[in-house]
Symmetry: C2
Subunit: 339 residues, 2 copies
C-alpha cells in the first residue's frame, strides 16, 4: 500500500473501532460469550474458553505471544467425519471407476476388481498392500495441477453414501466455531493429518479458513520435469515420501510449522504423539480429543474401530486430564446443514 | 484481544496514521523512494521497483492479491556470502573439531583427518562421499533441541576467516532492503535453500525477518522417540530425506509454500529450476540473479566456481531477459557493517 492509501485505511479503521469501543461494549462482550454457540455448556467448552482466556491475557502468568499461539488439528474424525471410510479413500475408489475403461486388466485383478464389484469385504481382504496400491494408482503419475483438478471435480460431484451430500458438507460445526474462535484470539490454526497434503490443500481454505501452507500431511515423492512444450511441471511419483500419522505427526509439525503447538486436537490413536508432543512443552497447554459417541447424528466408535481407533490415546487422556469431547452430549449440532 | 483492548489499539493506530496522513505526506513519499537506498540507480533497481509497483496497483492489469504475492530467495550467495565455502560447511568443520576428543579414530581417518589437519585440499579429494559423511556426523544423531543449541552457540562465537566477524554479519545489505521493501508491499518472503532447514531456522527471523516456518530447505529423516524420562524428543537421523536444490527447489516450494512464487531471486545454477518454475506461471513475474562480480568488497566468481557456479542459469537469464544484479556496480555497499 502506498502512504496515502494506508493513511486513509487506518483512519477509517480507527474511527470504526473507536465507535465500536465507545458505543458497542455490550455487543462486543456478547460476541465473546457466543463464540462457541454449537457447544453445550460442559467441562469441555469451559476448558477451551478458560485456556484461551489464560494465554491471551496480557500481563498474566500464562500469557503466550501471538507468534507462539500455534493450534494443530487432525482432520479425519476431528474436523470432518471419516465413516464409512476415510473420505480420501472414497475419492480413490471413485477414481478407480473413472480410470477403469483404460485398464481392462483391472476387471480380474485385486484390489481393483473388488472396487469395481463394490465388494468392500474383498477389498479389505486385499490387506494393506492392496490399499496402498489403490492409493498409488489413483494419486500419482500425474502432475500436481492435474491432481488438483481431479480432487476439485470429485468434490463438486461426489456425494456421501449416507447423507447424500458433498463430503465437504460433513464438517463439524462446533469445530468450525472453535477454529474461528482461536483465530480471533490470535492463534494460527493448522491441520496435521495422515491424509496427503495435495488432497487437502484443494479445499481447506474454503471449508475451514485454513490456507494451503498451513496444511501438514503425508507426501509423495514429487519430481520436477520439463515437458516437450518446454513447460516445467511437478509430477507425483508412486512412492511415499513421508507418513504424517502417529509418531510422524510431531515430525511433520517440526518440519512444516517449526514451533511446538500449545493447543492440539485429535480423535484417534494416530493423534496420540501429537498430543504428547504438545503436552511436553513448557507453559500452558491444551490437549483435546473428539470422542465419537453419537450413533444417531454421526457415528459411535472408539476402541474396536479399524477406522479412527481411539484406545490408547483415550486411556492417556483420562490419566493425564486431557479434554475429551463427548460428541453426543457436548455438541448441539454436528453438521452445518443441521442448524 | 478482547473488545475493549482492541478498541483502544485501533483508536491509537487510527489517530497515529491519520496524523501521518495529514502532516506527513512528503515524508511518506520519500520513504517509498528510498526503500532500496543501497542500490545504485540501475536497470536492476528499476526492474524491481517497476515490478512491485505493477503488481500492487489496485485495479491495474497486473494486480496480484496479497495472498499470492509470494517471493522466494535462495540463501547461500543470494542473501549472504558463500565463500570460501558454504557457511553451513564451516559449521560442520568446527563441529568435527569440537567432537574430535570423543573420536580418537578420526585422527587417521578421512575426511575427518583432513578437517583436523586443516588440509582443505585433502578434504576436497575425499569427494562427495567424504563431504556427505562430514555433514551426517555433525548434523544428526542428536535431538532437534540439541542441534538448535549447537548452531546458536556456534553463531555466537565463530568468526569468518576473511572478515573476522560473525557469519551472520555477512548478509547483503541491499537484499535486506529488498526483503523489507517486498514485505512493506504485502509480499510474503520465503527462503528456498539447499541448506538444511534446521540450520537456517535458528537465525533467519533475527537476521532476515523471515520466520522459521517460511524457510524451505533440505531435510534429514527425523524420528519421534520417548526418552527414559518419559519426555518425547525428535532425533535427527543420518539419512537425507529431501534435497532442496536444483530441480528440488520447485518441489520444496510446492511442498512447503503450496503457491507458485511471482518473484524469485537466486545466484547459481542450483536456482535455475526455481526461476523457471516462477517464470512459467501466468501474469507478471520477476526472476533475478545475483552475479558475484566484486573481488574487492566480496568475491568474483561464476562459470568456473565449484561453489555457487553460475553458468547455465546465466545463459538462460540473458536469453529470457531475467534481471541480473551486477554486485560491483549495482550495490553501494555489500554488508551492513560497511555502511
Amino acid at each position: 500500500m502506498r502512504g496515502r492509501y494506508r493513511g486513509i485505511h487506518y483512519l477509517v479503521l480507527g474511527i470504526l473501532f473507536a465507535t465500536v469501543f465507545i458505543f458497542g461494549q455490550p455487543a462486543a462482550s456478547q460476541t465473546v460469550a457466543d463464540s462457541l454457540p454449537s457447544w453445550n455448556d460442559s467441562p469441555a467448552k469451559k476448558a477451551i474458553i478458560e485456556f484461551v482466556t489464560r494465554v491471551t491475557k496480557e500481563g498474566g502468568a500464562d500469557f503466550v505471544p501471538p507468534a507462539e499461539r500455534i493450534a494443530t488439528f487432525d482432520n479425519d474424525g476431528t474436523l470432518w467425519s471419516e465413516m464409512p471410510i476415510y473420505f480420501q479413500f472414497m475419492f480413490a475408489m471413485d477414481r478407480v471407476k473413472e480410470l477403469a475403461p483404460n485398464h481392462p486388466e483391472w476387471k480380474d485383478k485385486l484390489p481393483f476388481k473388488a472396487v469395481l464389484d463394490g465388494d468392500l469385504k474383498a477389498l479389505a481382504a486385499s490387506g494393506e498392500k492392496g490399499l496402498v496400491e489403490l492409493i498409488m494408482v489413483t494419486h500419482t503419475g500425474i502432475t500436481t495441477d492435474e491432481y488438483v483438478k481431479e480432487v476439485a471435480d470429485w468434490l463438486a460431484t461426489a456425494r456421501h453414501p449416507r447423507f447424500k451430500r458433498p463430503y465437504t458438507d460433513l464438517v463439524f460445526q462446533p469445530m468450525l466455531e472453535l477454529l474461528a474462535y482461536l483465530r480471533e484470539n490470535g492463534f494460527k490454526t493448522y491441520i496435521v493429518s495422515g491424509g496427503t497434503v495435495e488432497f487437502m490443500r484443494v479445499w481447506t481454505e474454503r471449508v475451514y479458513g485454513i490456507p494451503p501452507e498451513q496444511v501438514v500431511g503425508s507426501t509423495f515423492i514429487t519430481r520436477f520435469q520439463t515437458g516437450n512444450d518446454g513447460m516445467p511441471a511437478l509430477v507425483l511419483q508412486p512412492k511415499v515420501e513421508f507418513i504424517d500419522d502417529g509418531p510422524g505427526k510431531p515430525v511433520g509439525i517440526n518440519k512444516f510449522i517449526c514451533r511446538r503447538p500449545i493447543f492440539a486436537f485429535g480423535n484417534s490413536d494416530g493423534d496420540q504423539q501429537m498430543l504428547e508432543w504438545t503436552a511436553a512443552g513448557s507453559g500452558a497447554r491444551f490437549m483435546g480429543l473428539v470422542h465419537h459417541t453419537d450413533a444417531v447424528r454421526e457415528w459411535a466408535y472408539d476402541r474396536q474401530s479399524p477406522i479412527g481407533r481411539l484406545d490408547k490415546a483415550l486411556d492417556e487422556a483420562t490419566a493425564r486430564g486431557w479434554t475429551v469431547v463427548d460428541m453426543k452430549h457436548n455438541w448441539k449440532v454436528i453438521y452445518p446443514f443441521q442448524q
